[in-house]
Symmetry: C2
């Protein structure tokens, strides 16, 4: 839910974010089936880890049985009718008996594996949020969720390392898996080349790609949040605060 | 594997095509993991129904235990090093002990449901192959399968019927599910508007969209075949003959 940084997955002793690294999205129950379909039809940007039924606030994926996802995440965004209403540190009041929670895989999960192979991404070593971009790749629609495009996270590598990077992250199938595009031609194909080249980003921090490296793009768990925001659904939607 | 036509799913008494309606693709075993990943990462155009391990030629999805997928399909394409070598009615010789088979869902499965709701597509009632188009939507790459775009099948409906059509086909999750695009703006977004407008098609038969109707597009099981063909993999690849 935040950039836990090197080693946190194993050394941290408390908290949901650092122990399971997932994206949280909470919706009124009438949208739950459509949202589940959206995830199942778009598993690369929206890998569904777990559904929390109404009145369930503990994830089976968490390291502690006393985790309460309504308060154990650093910060939450509260949306009402598609607009950000506020950012809070506890959503026990907003998470009603009609809300269903979804946990979505997160690419930070594979960064430790990259680091262990001498391929730590710069965003990780500098402890900043990975740069994220909205692409031109449309999501497969599902019910009310008819809009939306893939959001990708970007890390840069030397051209010779890209096949190794692809191979390492391929195994993390529930955490976006291998990249969806790489190289400057890949950046152009998914519609983000100019922004990447200028060191801009749509979400997260910004990073210039060094001259001897090329951008590599993975599906990103911010995708479902943007899709939900764009779908004009009614009522209160909750999410972890990205970044 | 072919357009079985109205009622065949229930009235036919023999044959793989009419009883299970699936797309077949057979690859050298060294590509099997990458191809499985390609399907799992692109479940809408490539819904994986079953993997047939080496030396397995009977599908658990078939209605008869004596079905042999090497000979019970009307016709097969044999590719060698990415090029069509021949079309045959039996592949017992070509399907070696090193080949793995994949069965992919087929949109013909939901046409009976559409018909039962008074929404039979014209390709079905005219007993012609549904028009298919290669779009501009890139597949999520997987291992050696780094190229390829969604192929879609097209059926046309009155605008007022599209939400019903979406709803009916949504349930067929392993047969491409609900449409990925609809309307002329949808056709434009996925890069096929001109061809659809002219009544052309990339695969299958051609059909002009009547003036009071709009095109509706579903993921299509020809997608993985095109992806494999574009990936320059070596050796002998087998598939059912589409259409």
């Amino acid at each position: 839910m935040h950039h836990a940084g090197a080693g946190d997955m194993t050394t941290s002793t408390s908290g949901l974010a650092s122990t399971m690294q997932a994206n949280l999205l909470v919706l009124p129950s009438r949208y739950a089936n459509d949202f589940r379909d959206l995830c199942l039809r778009n598993p690369v940007p929206c890998p569904l880890l777990e559904v929390l039924p109404v009145k369930h606030y503990n994830s089976r994926l968490a390291s502690h049985s006393d985790i309460d996802v309504r308060s154990d995440i650093p910060a939450y965004n509260v949306y009402e009718n598609g607009r950000l209403r506020e950012t809070v540190t506890d959503v026990k009041k907003e998470w009603t008996d009609d809300h269903v929670g979804f946990l979505i895989g997160c690419s930070y999960s594979f960064e430790t594996a990259l680091k262990n192979n001498g391929l730590a991404p710069r965003s990780m070593t500098q402890n900043i949020a990975v740069p994220m971009f909205e692409t031109n790749i449309p999501l497969n629609p599902a019910g009310v969720f008819t809009g939306g495009f893939y959001v990708v996270s970007m890390r840069s590598y030397k051209r010779k390392d890209i096949s190794k990077v692809r191979e390492i992250t391929r195994a993390f199938q529930k955490q976006h898996g291998e990249p969806i595009a790489w190289g400057w031609d890949g950046a152009e194909r998914i519609g983000v080349k100019d922004k990447v080249h200028k060191g801009e980003s749509d979400f997260g921090d910004s990073l210039l790609v060094p001259e001897d490296e090329e951008p590599v793009f993975w599906g990103c768990g911010v995708t479902p949040q943007v899709a939900v925001k764009n779908s004009n659904i009614e009522g209160v939607v909750l999410s972890h605060k990205p970044g």
